[in-house]
Amino acid sequence: MSAVPEAAPGTVRARRVAARAGRSARRLLAYTVLLSFSLYILGPFAAIMVTAVGQEWFGGRWFPGTWTFKWFTFARSLADLPALLTNSLVIAGLSIVISLAVGLPTAWALAKRQIRARGLLIALILLPRMVPPITIGLGVSREFYNFGLVDTHIGVAFAHSILIIPLVVLIMSATFEGLDDRVLEAARVCGANSFYTLWNVVRPLVMPGLLASALFGLITSLNEFTLTLLTYGPRTITLTVQTYIAISQGFKEVASALSVILIIPSLILLILIQKQIKPENMVGGAKGL
């Protein structure tokens, strides 16, 4: 404040200056926190990416000296990558279908019907997520051997569904609860039959929940190791299992290369969903009309 007389505290000008300083300080703090958080989340990804393309890497350096794609090639030689990826995706797809088929009616019942012992039921549904997967996995693999489900895509998918169904039920029962019964009644009175109402009113309103369920289902299935390990076979080996095997054999770089591939489907789905979830499609936003 050069030629202008010093702004006395309390004048409009001084207050404006102070407010501006406060705003920039807050903005700086916000960006710092955001950046640190991003690094915290993205750091491990970066490490994997770098490892996957590093030729040789002696400790203490941030970046490897030489870049290479040989680990991907090596991974290819160790296992049939397209087949692994196909297995992973087919199993994930089947798991999502099974989980929605079981989870949607359950969620609807929990949200819209009067149910006795509701709390107990929810606890039961969540149980598979509460116990270590190995506990379920051992029992599952025993039963699956009896039914010939081991080393079939559908079998592994069934095993994965045990973990995905609780997620679907949680997400979708909250979504269905947000659906106003009167809006459904309005559709009926307007002349729409159950199917028309389901497709043109219910479906668009619960779409965000459905997409979230699918995304979580995909991630859960792609990442699941324990249950896959106990139900897979030569025909159904997945990327995740192969990654673990690579680590146990000492090929850390190969494991990193496999992990990079593993990220791709989730990322694609995430981007697709990001575009789909528009604010006006959110049931929650439309509720308190």
């Binding site: 106003d180 009167r182 009644e185 309005a186 009926r188 009175v189 307007c190 002349g191 006006e280 009309l289």
Partner: protein, 387 residues
Amino acid sequence: MTMLETRSQALVDSAGQQAAEESQESMVQLRSVTKYFANVAAVDGIDLDVAEGEVLTLLGPSGCGKSTTLRCITGSLEIDAGTIQIGGKDVTRVPTHGRHIGLVFQNFALFPHMTVTENVAFPLKVRRVAKHEIRSRVAQALELVQLGQLGKRLPRELSGGQQQRVGLARAIVYRPRVVLFDEPLSNLDAMLRREMRYEIRRLCDELGFTAIYVTHDQEEALALSDRIAVMKDGIIHQIGAPDEIYASPRTLFVAQFLGNPNRNAGTLTELRADEATVRIGTTTVETPLPLDEIALGSDVVLVVRPEVVRIANSAEQTRVNMWEARISAMSFLGERREYVLTIDEGFELRAYLPPDVGHALGDVVRVEVPIAECRVYPGASASVEDS
């Protein structure tokens, strides 16, 4: 305005044609309709006839079964006994979407993911009406509810009053012969309520549909109905024109639900050919004969509307039903003064008098209640409080 009139005229004509096809039979007919909720009859054997083009209001306190009755007519609830006819056809077993009626909801119940236009077009799309016709009919309906400019908005971008106009447009756009209203104004503020009340009545008159209107607001019911059915505990206590029900309530419940009348507990002491005598404390009141048969000496409730109580001037001769009373409370309410007049132990009357009447608190005046304005119902004093 002229365009609006011609458009509404077109709708009136189509409704008129439909009316001509219909015989004199009632448009909506309920016969001993019963609906149980966990062993309690929410609707207890109701008979109801609503004539073509009539506006009938189901009036009652919350839990009286009026909304349940409406949901039975829409088919949202399956009835446990009885039959429902709409337009001469038995629809008791017809699902909701096959009944072709309009319904306006208390919470509007618009489709939140659709624009105003899409909301109003919904019933037409369901019925596979041709696209160009949908466009013109939606525009017409939006004009009728004065929302012509807001077609592209989403429901949440509208005020409560505007949302309810969309609800109205959606209910009338496919020209149903019966439109039901489930407390459509309860979620709106008082000013808007009064305005919308006239608008709804205007729509009923212009389009000529048959309307069944549910409300707990007596003023709303009196203002817009051709007939009112007063309900309590799942049964209809009385049905009739607003002025008729207001003037001659059939039961104590109806009397105290409409208006805010004076209720005094007394004893029936005398029954003559065309009049009766009720004693309250030491005062005797001459009344018309009670509607129900009441045994001499039993407890009764005397009902007198505050607007019929008058204060006699000093020159008048003392007559029957004229008593001395002390003004025990007084309040000024702008267009009138409200007095509480104590006549006897346990005998008080509220009276509405013009604001320029100059009596002071504690004054002793003479009060008259014309015999014809008294109503006597059976009941002990306890039931006086129960409303």
